[in-house]
Every structure is written in structure tokens, then in C-alpha cells.
Subunit: 330 residues, 2 copies
Amino acid sequence: MATIYDVSVLAGVSLATVSRVMNNNTKVSDKTRQKVLDAMASLGYRPNTIAQSLASNCSNSVGVLVSQLDGPFYGPMMTEIETTLRTANKHVIIAAGHAQESQEKDSVEFLISRGCDALILDVEAVSDEYLIELYKGKTPIVLINRYIEVMKDNCVFLENERGGFMATDYILSLGHKDIAYISGPMYKGDARDRLQGHQRALSQHGIMFDPALWYEGNFREFGGEEGMRHLLSLNKKFTAVVCASDQMASGAIAACMEKGLKVPDDISIIGYDNIPFPQYIYPKLTTVSNPINEMGKMAALWVLKNIYHDTNVKVDCSFTPKLYVRDSAK
Amino acid sequence: MATIYDVSVLAGVSLATVSRVMNNNTKVSDKTRQKVLDAMASLGYRPNTIAQSLASNCSNSVGVLVSQLDGPFYGPMMTEIETTLRTANKHVIIAAGHAQESQEKDSVEFLISRGCDALILDVEAVSDEYLIELYKGKTPIVLINRYIEVMKDNCVFLENERGGFMATDYILSLGHKDIAYISGPMYKGDARDRLQGHQRALSQHGIMFDPALWYEGNFREFGGEEGMRHLLSLNKKFTAVVCASDQMASGAIAACMEKGLKVPDDISIIGYDNIPFPQYIYPKLTTVSNPINEMGKMAALWVLKNIYHDTNVKVDCSFTPKLYVRDSAK
DNA sequence: CTGTTAGCGCATTCAG
DNA sequence: CTGAATGCGCTAACAG
């Protein structure tokens, strides 16, 4: 592999000059520039990014930590992050935290020691305090899907309470009065916020929230299935179920089918997230959007702007959910 | 950030000794080792991996190139790759090729210039010749989901023809005679292989393959929907549809629902891939497995064994599909 | 077993 | 505008 030195020899210039044309910061005369370019071309020269990083103290790589790489959720987000960062010639180094505190911390350490210029974090197990500490550290971080007041400029988030409200509000507008709720796990902020929105919608319509009709799920299909079975076993009346995720809604629908209940004829169901797949579930899922992909993109843009000083970029870090009316509620 | 030098001073030893305890290759006396360890701890020392890479000419990072990061397909694969490599303290750098030749090539260049010690590639747009050229190059590569004879030791693949055979064979065993087929795009090897397996099963049962009952899809939901609509518009008799992917099968089921056709009562459908989601689709999808996650893991193990010389690992690169009988065919 | 000495490939002063 | 010199933090001979 040719080095900058080989190029300089072939071009008959100094090392520094070659470096200059690569980074075209300083002025180089067109003539010498061309000589260097020619030399690089004829040698098939490609800069050694490792050496660049060491010398410049900038790795051009950003670490991305998510809970999981699979599932309908993080894929689209990763796609946007990768695409956005790559057009700016930055590398994406990934790590998965698997929603476990120790693994999330390990991963952060890992990414920092890797010399990432910044970290994009979508973490759930780790405490606010830990993140604030990190925030004060040397490696800049952006949070996706999490809002912490003292570092709000580094947060990209969805207005979950509002989305929770919208979902239930829509169900109420359909005339339902007895509404069950399958939430995410309460240790997660977004699950709490969505539930809160649900409750606000209820009370705004003068309806009391009935804790018996609330099942704490896990955001996954299976949680929805379990939740629905549980609710059905209660022998309490309800005509609609609001689910805090599409995956749980899918599971809930499956559980209904299993019991011979028709959706939406016998029971209405609404999801949350608007992930791609449930559009192909029967019936098509009515839901509220969680534009996770756009949030990923925004986080990447944030990094481009604040770390790599790309001035052509503007970032707006608060996202508003949107209602998607399809066939699973009536 | 403390450097190896700071540690050496505090521990009262030389640079080299510190380096030795880090990489514990050469013998170091327990006493000095402990001194160094203490010094590292009290300084909160963390090695600069960039510098390590430059000096050792080993980046400890492996590049992973897939078509897409989202979808039900690559997520599980990435998860396994990341998990496997990370336990060995290797970094995963990702890139997406989006099934386009130029982007796939760009990504490969990108990953190579990043100094990856090896590349794991799941590419589709690029030619065999290109890959063989790459194979001869300096950076080792492993192929997932692709078999090229001359570099077969670097391939991790599924026996797609066999899976195609299994799916159709099962449908035939159910008594179906008139069977439609929605394939993947013919420029993809796995699509061709699956179709070939389908045809072999047919002919083995003395049934002629009817090209009119074949629709060339795109492996995605929408392709399945389109395909089913097309087949239905033909006014030709068929009682079962074999789909070359679960996503297309999902789309096909949706199209049936739309026309008021019941699956499996009016029409049987079988998929391919055994992705997680369709288990929650109604009816649950009968399918043939494509253990993409295991293949990802195997590719990672291959790298560990062949590049990082981990001897505790054994790799077996050929995977056999398996039939999963559920509810969508009878 | 441990210390000394060169680089790895490049960016970046500082002169000229 | 260009060249020479220095160092990023670490590994890897080579001595001792």
C-alpha cells in the first residue's frame, strides 16, 4: 500500500505538500496540486485512516449504541444514521446494549476507547445520572428517545405523552368508553409517558382510568399476547385496547384470533410506533407514529453539525407523533 | 487521557513493559506486572486503540456490509455478528450497500480504507468476478448468502435449492396439484436456486411447471401482494402458492384477505425464511427456515478463527433449511 | 525478565 | 506557497 511518502517522492514534493492537497485547507499552487494528484492516481494511493486519526486526534467515526440490532425498530434508525454519516465520510461503529445496564456501560466504554468522535445512544437500562456524567466527559453524546433536562440540547426525542394521548383520544372519538391498556414496562420513560397521555385523554373525556384494565407488557409481541389473554380472562367489559407498541398490538390481535374474537368488529385495537410490518397484518393496524428513522437521522445530523462543524445542517430535536387511521379500530 | 508513558513513569518501569502487560504475550514478573496494573488503575488508563492499530497494523475491527440494516432479515444477523465479535473485543463497522452495485463497491472501498482486518459481506448487486478479485486482495473477506466455487472456503451459505424443494415438496405432500410460485428477482442467485428446487419437487411428482403460474417478485411484502393480485387475475386454477420469502407470503396473504379469500381454506400459502414477525400474522405462516442469524454468527466465527487465530472455534459453513409447519397451508 | 530504540502513516507547527 | 522537523500513542525487534 502506497503511503504519503511514496506519493511525495513520485510527485517530487514534500510530505507536507501531499498532506495539504489531501486536506485542501491551505493553499497549494494548481501546478503542484496536479502533480500530487497525478502521483496519487498512478500509485492508487489511499490514505491510511488509522494514521490520520492518530495524527489528527479525530477518528472520523461515531459510535452508535442501541438496545438491539434486530426488531422492526432499530433497523430503520440504523439505516438513516449510517446513510447520513456515510455521505459525510464518517464511519459507524455499532454496539448493542441489550437493555442491560452492565452491557450498556460496557458498550459505552468500548466505543469511547475506540476513539469515537461522538456517541449516539439509544439506551434504556442506564440511569440519568450516569448519562449526565458521560455528558460532562470528553466524548460528546447524543441521546435518542430519551429526554434529560440538563442536557436537553443533546437529546432527540418523541413527544410520547402526546402520542399516548392521541391514540386514546382517537379511540374515545370512536365512541368507546371501556378501554383497556397494554403498556410497556414501567421502568422505561417512554412507556410511562405514553400511559400518562392515555390517562390524560381518559380524564379529559370524564372517564376514570381503571387499573384493572391495565396490563404492563414488555413492548414485544409476546407481551401483547399475554396481555390480551389476561384482559380477556378478567371477564370485565371493554370494547377497545390501546397498546403502547405495534408489536404488542400484533400479539394482542393474535390472541384475539385465537379466542375467535374479530378485530375490529368485536374489539378495536390501536398500536403505537407505525412499524412497517403490521401494515400487512390483518386487519391493518391503526397506530400512532414513532418516527424512529427520522430521529436517527436527526441524531446523525446533530453530530455532523456539532462535532464535524457542518454548517449546512439544521437540527430540530423534538418530534411529534402522528395518527395513522387504518382498519383495526372502529 | 493517560498514556502508556504516564503509566510507565508511575509504575517506575519502561514503556515496553507496560505494553507487555497489556498484551501479556511475553513474560513479565508478577511483581512488576502488579505495579503496572496498579498504576493503570490509579490513572484510569485506557489504551488508545487507534495508536495500537497503527503500530500493530491490526485494527481489531471487522467491516460488515449488508444490503440493508432494516427489515426482518439483517437485524438478527447483525446481532449475532456483533455479539460474537464483541466478546472477542473486536469492533464492528457497518455499511449498507442497498443492493446497488456502486454503493456496494463504495462500501467495500470504504471499509478497506478504514483498515478493517476482515470484511463480512452480504452483497447481491456485485458480480462474482469482482468478489473473486477482492478475494485475491489483501483484506480477507467472507461471503454470507453466496456461494462462489473458487472461494468456497470463504463462503457461508444456505442450501437454497434444497429449501425450495422442501417447501414445494411439503405442499405436494398435502395433495395440491396446481401450485403457483412467487419468486424473488431472478438476478439473485438465491431466488434462482429456490425456484430450481421448486421445479425439481414438481417434476419429481410428475407435475409440469407452468410458467403462467410463476410471478417474479422482489422478496418484499409489496411484491407478494402484487404477485397474488396478478395470479388471481389470471383466472387459472391453483390451490396453493409457494412464496420465496416470508415477506412476500405476508403480502400475498394480505392480497387474499382483500379479495375475501381465506387462507388456508381457500388457498394454501407457504413462505421461506422463517422470520419472526409472521408468526403473529393470521394465519401463522408455514415456512422453511433461513437461519440467517446463525449464518451471521458463523461468519463472525470464521473471522475469529482465520483472522484472529482463535483456535477454540470451529466453523461449518453450509446450512440446511428446515420446514416449519404452522397454519397457512393445508 | 526488562529497557532502548525505531518506526507505523500522517498532520502540523515553524521557517523560509 | 512549500519543505523540514516533530510527535500522536503504541508495538516490536534488539540488546542487555
